[in-house]
C-alpha cells in the first residue's frame, strides 16, 4: 500500500531527497491550472479534514470569497493537543516539505498570500524542525517572493511558523486566530465564520496539518486516484496514532476504512499479555468510547464510526485492557478538559469543574448512585450550550463513558444515600413570567 503522508523513504525530511522524489512537481502542475480548478479537484477527491470534524476540505476552500479587497490568509492548525493524538508532529519531523508544498498549492487555490503554521506550544522540538524546513524553503526560493523566479507564474506567498503558548483551546480554529492576533485565545462566536471574518477580520481558511499534506498527492496523481483509496465517503489514507495497551504503539498510515481490530491486533501488535480489551477511544480523548465487545467490524472512517456510535476525531486510538479502571480514566480525561477550559462561556467554565468534583467524589468512594446520574445530567447541560466545541469535547467522554460502562461506575458508588442536601438558591419556584420589562 502506498503511503501518501508519511512515505517510507529515508531522509525524506531533507530537501534534496524530497526534490529527488518529485518534490514541488505538484505545485508546478497546479500553477498550470486555474485556482478554481484546484478547489474543484480537491472537492471531488473527497479529501476530508483530519483535525476532527472531517469536513470536506475543497468545500471549505470554496467558502473563501472570490472577489475581495481584503488580504486572505491560510492557517495550518498544528496545535495538536488532544490526548491520544500525536500524528501531526510526525509530519513536522519526517515530511515538512510536503506540508510546505501543500501550503503553496492551497494558498494558490484560495488566493492567500500569507500562511501561518500554528504549532502547539509544547512542541519545541517540532517547531524547530518546521522553522528549519521553512528557512530552507525560503533559501531555495520555494517560498516567498523568489517563488516567482523559481516556479514562474507570478504567484507567491509567505509562510510563518507560529508557536502557541500552551493551551489546548488554541486548536479551536477561532481561538487559534485570536492567538495569532496576540489576543487571549477565546473562541469566537460563530457566525461569522473564518472565511468571512477570520484573521484581523479578513477571509481565512484553517486546515489541519495532515489535511494540507495530502494535497500535493491529489494534484499530482489526480482526484480519481485519491477518491479510490479506502472508503469512498472518506477516502485517502489516515494517520492513526495508536496508544495505550498495545504491544507496538505508534503512528500508522492506513487507508480509511481499515478495521479497528486489524489496526489493534495486526499493526499495533495486539494487547500485552493477550488481555481482553475493555474500552477503545477511537479518535482522541474527546470522542465517545467504544466497549471492547463493540469493536468487531468497526471500520475507521468518519461514516462507519458514526454508525458505530463514535467519531473519527483525530484518529488517535486509545486502547484500554480489561484491568483498566475506567472511573480513573474518565476522571483523568475530565481533569484535562477542566484544566483546559478557557473559561469564556458559562456551561464549560462551570460544568467541567463540577464534573471533575463529582468524579473525584466517586473515586474517593464517597459517591452515590445519584452522583452518577448527576454527572450525566451536567454533561448534557454543557453539550450544545457553549461557544465552541470544547463543551462537547468535555461532555462526550463523560456522557458516553458513564452510559456505556454504567456497571463500572455503579460498582463504585453507594446506593443513593439520604444525602438530600439541596443548595437553596432561593425559596421561590418560578412565579414570574420569563418575559419581563427590559432591564439593561
Amino acid at each position: 500500500m502506498e503511503k501518501i503522508v508519511l512515505p517510507d523513504i529515508p531522509n525524506f525530511d531533507k530537501i534534496d531527497t524530497y526534490l529527488a522524489n518529485g518534490g514541488f512537481s505538484a505545485y508546478r502542475k497546479a500553477l498550470t491550472q486555474y485556482p478554481d480548478d484546484i478547489i474543484d479537484q480537491v472537492k471531488k477527491s473527497g479529501l476530508r479534514g483530519r483535525g476532527g470534524a472531517a469536513f470536506s476540505a475543497g468545500l471549505k476552500w470554496s467558502f473563501m470569497p472570490k472577489t475581495t479587497d481584503k488580504p486572505k490568509y491560510l492557517c495550518v492548525n498544528g496545535d495538536e493537543s488532544e490526548p491520544g493524538s500525536f500524528k501531526d508532529r510526525q509530519i513536522f519531523e519526517y515530511n515538512p516539505f510536503q506540508l510546505i508544498e501543500g501550503i503553496l498549492i492551497t494558498c494558490y487555490a484560495i488566493g492567500a498570500k500569507t500562511c501561518y503554521i500554528y504549532i502547539r506550544g509544547e512542541y519545541h522540538k517540532w517547531v524547530k524542525f518546521m522553522e528549519k524546513a521553512v528557512e530552507t524553503a525560503y533559501e531555495k526560493g520555494f517560498v516567498g517572493e523568489k517563488m516567482k523566479e523559481v516556479f514562474g507564474g507570478g504567484f507567491f506567498c509567505d509562510i510563518h511558523v507560529h508557536k502557541g503558548a500552551g493551551a489546548y483551546i488554541c486548536g479551536e480554529e477561532s481561538s487559534l486566530m485570536n492567538s495569532i492576533e496576540g489576543k487571549r485565545p477565546y473562541p469566537r462566536v460563530k457566525p461569522p465564520f473564518p472565511a468571512q471574518n477570520g484573521l484581523w477580520g479578513n477571509p481565512t481558511t484553517i486546515n489541519n496539518v495532515e489535511t494540507i499534506t495530502n494535497v500535493p498527492a491529489i494534484i499530482n496523481k489526480g482526484w480519481e486516484w485519491y477518491a479510490s483509496i479506502g472508503e469512498p465517503k472518506h477516502p485517502g489514507t489516515i494517520l492513526f496514532g495508536v496508544s495505550g495497551h498495545v504491544n507496538k504503539p505508534g503512528v500508522y498510515e492506513l487507508p480509511s476504512g481499515t478495521l479497528l481490530t486489524d489496526i489493534i491486533y495486526s499493526y499495533a501488535g495486539g494487547v500485552p499479555g493477550n488481555k481482553k480489551i475493555k474500552c477503545v477511544i477511537p479518535g482522541g480523548s474527546s470522542m465517545p468510547p467504544l466497549r471492547g465487545d463493540q469493536l468487531e467490524g468497526v471500520k475507521m472512517d468518519a461514516e462507519s464510526l458514526r454508525m458505530a456510535g463514535s467519531a473519527i476525531g483525530t484518529g488517535g486510538i486509545m486502547v484500554m485492557d480489561e484491568d483498566t479502571d475506567l472511573v480513573k480514566v474518565l476522571a483523568r480525561i475530565t481533569k484535562f478538559y477542566y484544566h483546559e477550559s478557557c473559561g469564556q462561556c458559562t456551561p464549560c467554565r462551570e460544568g467541567t469543574g463540577w464534573m471533575l468534583k463529582l468524579l473525584n467524589r466517586i473515586l474517593r468512594g464517597e459517591g452515590s448512585t445519584k452522583d452518577v446520574e448527576l454527572l450525566v445530567s451536567v454533561a448534557n447541560n454543557i453539550e450544545g450550550n457553549t461557544v465552541c466545541a470544547l463543551g462537547e469535547a468535555a461532555a462526550w467522554p463523560v456522557k458516553f463513558m458513564v452510559t456505556r460502562f454504567r456497571d463500572e461506575f455503579e460498582a463504585r458508588v453507594k446506593e443513593s444515600a439520604a444525602r438530600e442536601v439541596v443548595n437553596k438558591v432561593h425559596s421561590m419556584r418560578r412565579t414570574v413570567n420569563p418575559i419581563s420589562p427590559i432591564n439593561i
Partner: protein
C-alpha cells in the same frame, strides 16, 4: 420592514439587528448578562439561548441576526432547559451572599435567579474560592467570587473609556479579572463598571455598605459637573444623597457619566457647611435672621445705591429660571446695567467622550435667560475691575464663590460697601458678605439647564428643604411613594432652611412692588418661554425626562 415571530408575536426589525436588539426595541427582555446595547457582543453568558425553528441547535439571541420569517421561542421546553442549566452553572460557584451584598435589589443575577431558575441547585461540592475585596482602583472594589465573567467591565474599558485597564487571567472556573501588575483601574470613567456589572462583583467604594438600594428613593436629575449635563439619578435615604448614577440618554451621555461628576457634585448638599436661614452681618458678625427681615434689609440696602454703583453676578450653576428672575429683577426693578456671570473653563480638561472644559451645567442657559450686560454695561471682568477701583459699591452675587474662583478677589471684595450673596455653603466669599441668602442646591429644586449642545434638561428636587416641604414645587411623588420604607427616616432628619434663587429674588422684589408672583419654578419657566424667543415652544412636559433641543440648536451636531 421585515419581521419575525417571537413567542407568537410579530416583531419588526431593522436589517442587521440581532434577535435581542429587535426584542428590546419592542420592550421585550430576553434574559441576558453579558450583552449590553452599547458594548460589543461577547456571547459568553449563554443565558440568552433561544430556540429558533429549523436551526439544529439553540442559538444565542445576542449574536444571531434576526431574519425575515424566523420563528423564535424564548419559552419553549428546550429554551427553558438550557436557561435553567446555565442559571444553575452560574450559581454553583457564586457565593449567594445577597444578604451582605451591595448589589442586592438591583442585581441581574438575583432577579434572574427568581425569574428564571428552578430555585435550588444540585451542587453540593465546595465552591471555588477567589480573591475578595480587591481594590482595583481608587474608586472600584472587586469581589472575584461574585464575578460571573461576563466581560462587560473589560469591554467598557476597551471600547468606551478607551483605556484597556482590565483583563481576564487564568482559565476555566479559575478565571478572574485583574489590572496589569502595578497598574490601577483609574480611568476617568471607571465607576461605570459598577453600574454595568450585572452582579455585586464591582462595587463603588464611595457607596459600599451605605444603604440597601430598596431603602433609597431615586430622582431623575442632571449632573452639575460640566456642560455635558449627563442625565443622572439621585439616590436619597433619610433626606441625604448617598450616590449618583448615570441615567440613559443616548443624545447626551448614553449609559455613562464620569467619576468626577459622580463623586464630587453632591457632597456639598449633605455637608456641615450648609447655610441654613438668612444671615445678616451686624458689627462684623453674622446673625441669623428671618426671611422677611432679610428681604427688606437687602432691598433697602440695594435701593441706597445708584444703578451705576450696583452690579449683579449670575451663575452658570443656577437654573434658567433663577437667572431669568435675577436678570428681570436687576433690569426692571433696580435698573442695573452691569450684569454678567463668570465662566469656569478648565482649559484642557476635556475629552471626546463626555467631559467638557466648561465646568458649569448651564452657561448657555444663563446667557439666554438674560445674564448679560446691557449695551453700556460691564462684563464680569470689567465689573470686578470697577469694584477694585471703587466705582461699583454694591455687588449682588448669586451662587458663585468669587474668592474660590480667584483668591485675588478677596481684596477686591473687601472694597465693597455692600455684598449680598446667595450661597448653599459657607465659603470665603460668604465671609465677606453683608447679607447671605441660603440657596437651595440643584438637588433641592426644580429647574432647567441648557447644556453645551443647546439641549434643555430638567432637574428635580431629591432632597427636601424646610421651605420645600410645604411648597407646591417639591418632590415629584407623594411622601409615601417616595420614602416608603421604614428605614428611611425622612420625617425626623435635619432639613435646610434654604430656597431657590428665583423664590428669594421674588421675595426681595415683592417687598416693594408685589409683581413677582410665581408659585412654582414652572410658572417662572412659562414666563421665560413667553419673553425669550430661544425657549419658544417649550414647557416642562415637552422637556420631559430626557430633555429637548432648543430650536436654534436642533440641527447642531455636537455629540
Amino acid at each position: 420592514m421585515s419581521s419575525f415571530i417571537l413567542d407568537g408575536k410579530q416583531i419588526e426589525f431593522k436589517q442587521g439587528q440581532t434577535i435581542i436588539q429587535a426584542a428590546a426595541d419592542h420592550g421585550i427582555d430576553i434574559p441576558h448578562f453579558c450583552w449590553h446595547p452599547s458594548l460589543s457582543i461577547s456571547g459568553n453568558c449563554r443565558v440568552c439561548l433561544v430556540e429558533v425553528e429549523r436551526m439544529p441547535k439553540l442559538v444565542i439571541a445576542c449574536s444571531t441576526l434576526a431574519a425575515e420569517g424566523m420563528v423564535v421561542h424564548t419559552n419553549s421546553e428546550k429554551t427553558l432547559a438550557a436557561r435553567n442549566a446555565v442559571m444553575e452553572f452560574i450559581l454553583i460557584n457564586h457565593p449567594l451572599d445577597c444578604p451582605i451584598c451591595d448589589e442586592a435589589g438591583e442585581c441581574k443575577l438575583q432577579d434572574y435567579a427568581y425569574q428564571h431558575s428552578v430555585g435550588e441547585s444540585r451542587f453540593t461540592e465546595e465552591k471555588m474560592h477567589k480573591d475578595k475585596r480587591v481594590e482595583l482602583g481608587p474608586h472600584v472594589m472587586f469581589d472575584g467570587e461574585r464575578c460571573i465573567s461576563c466581560s462587560r467591565c473589560i469591554r467598557f474599558c476597551d471600547e468606551i473609556a478607551g483605556e484597556p485597564q482590565l483583563t481576564f487571567v487564568q482559565r476555566g472556573d479559575r478565571v478572574t479579572i485583574v489590572t496589569y501588575p502595578g497598574k490601577e483601574l483609574d480611568n476617568p470613567y471607571s465607576l461605570n463598571v459598577t453600574d454595568i456589572c450585572p452582579v455585586g462583583a464591582l462595587t463603588n467604594r464611595d457607596f459600599r455598605f451605605k444603604a440597601r438600594v430598596w431603602d433609597m428613593s431615586s430622582t431623575k436629575s442632571v449632573c452639575s459637573g460640566c456642560a455635558r449635563g449627563c442625565n443622572t439619578d439621585i439616590w436619597v435615604r433619610s433626606n441625604e444623597i448617598l450616590r449618583l448614577t448615570p441615567r440613559h440618554n443616548e443624545e447626551v451621555n448614553s449609559y455613562w457619566m464620569c467619576d468626577e461628576g459622580r463623586l464630587n457634585t453632591f457632597k456639598h448638599v449633605n455637608s456641615e457647611s450648609r447655610v441654613s436661614g438668612p444671615q445678616i452681618k451686624r458689627d462684623g458678625k453674622l446673625n441669623k435672621s428671618n426671611w422677611d427681615e432679610a428681604y427688606a434689609a437687602a432691598f433697602g440696602e440695594l435701593k441706597s445705591y445708584t444703578k451705576d454703583e450696583i452690579a449683579f453676578i449670575g451663575s452658570a450653576a443656577s437654573t434658567c429660571e433663577d437667572n431669568y428672575i435675577l436678570a428681570k429683577f436687576a433690569k426692571t426693578v433696580i435698573g442695573a446695567k452691569h450684569i454678567d456671570f463668570p465662566r469656569h473653563i478648565k482649559a484642557g480638561d476635556q475629552d471626546n467622550i463626555l467631559i467638557r472644559e466648561d465646568k458649569t451645567p448651564n452657561a448657555l442657559g444663563a446667557e439666554l435667560a438674560g445674564i448679560r450686560p446691557a449695551a453700556d454695561g460691564l462684563t464680569f471682568h470689567a465689573i470686578m475691575k470697577a469694584v477694585d477701583e471703587g466705582r461699583i459699591k454694591a455687588l449682588y452675587v448669586v451662587e458663585e464663590d468669587l474668592v474660590g474662583l480667584n483668591p485675588a478677589y478677596k481684596e477686591t471684595l473687601r472694597k465693597l460697601e455692600l455684598l449680598i450673596v446667595h450661597a448653599s455653603n459657607y465659603n470665603e466669599t460668604t465671609e465677606l458678605a453683608n447679607i447671605i441668602f441660603p440657596a437651595a442646591t440643584y438637588a433641592e429644586k426644580n429647574g432647567t439647564w441648557v447644556n453645551f449642545q443647546g439641549r434643555i434638561q430638567r432637574i428635580r428636587p431629591a432632597v427636601t428643604t424646610i421651605e420645600g416641604d410645604r411648597s407646591l414645587d417639591n418632590l415629584a411623588m407623594s411622601r409615601l411613594d417616595k420614602f416608603g420604607t421604614e428605614f428611611d427616616r425622612w420625617g425626623n432628619v435635619k432639613k435646610m432652611d434654604a430656597r431657590p434663587v428665583w423664590k428669594i429674588i421674588s421675595g426681595l422684589a415683592n417687598t416693594q412692588s408685589g409683581k413677582f408672583r410665581y408659585s412654582t419654578s414652572e410658572d417662572v419657566f412659562n414666563e421665560l418661554v413667553k419673553s425669550v424667543p430661544d425657549f419658544s415652544g417649550l414647557d416642562y412636559d415637552v422637556i420631559g425626562e430626557k430633555g429637548a433641543a432648543l430650536k436654534k440648536f436642533v440641527n447642531t451636531k455636537t455629540v
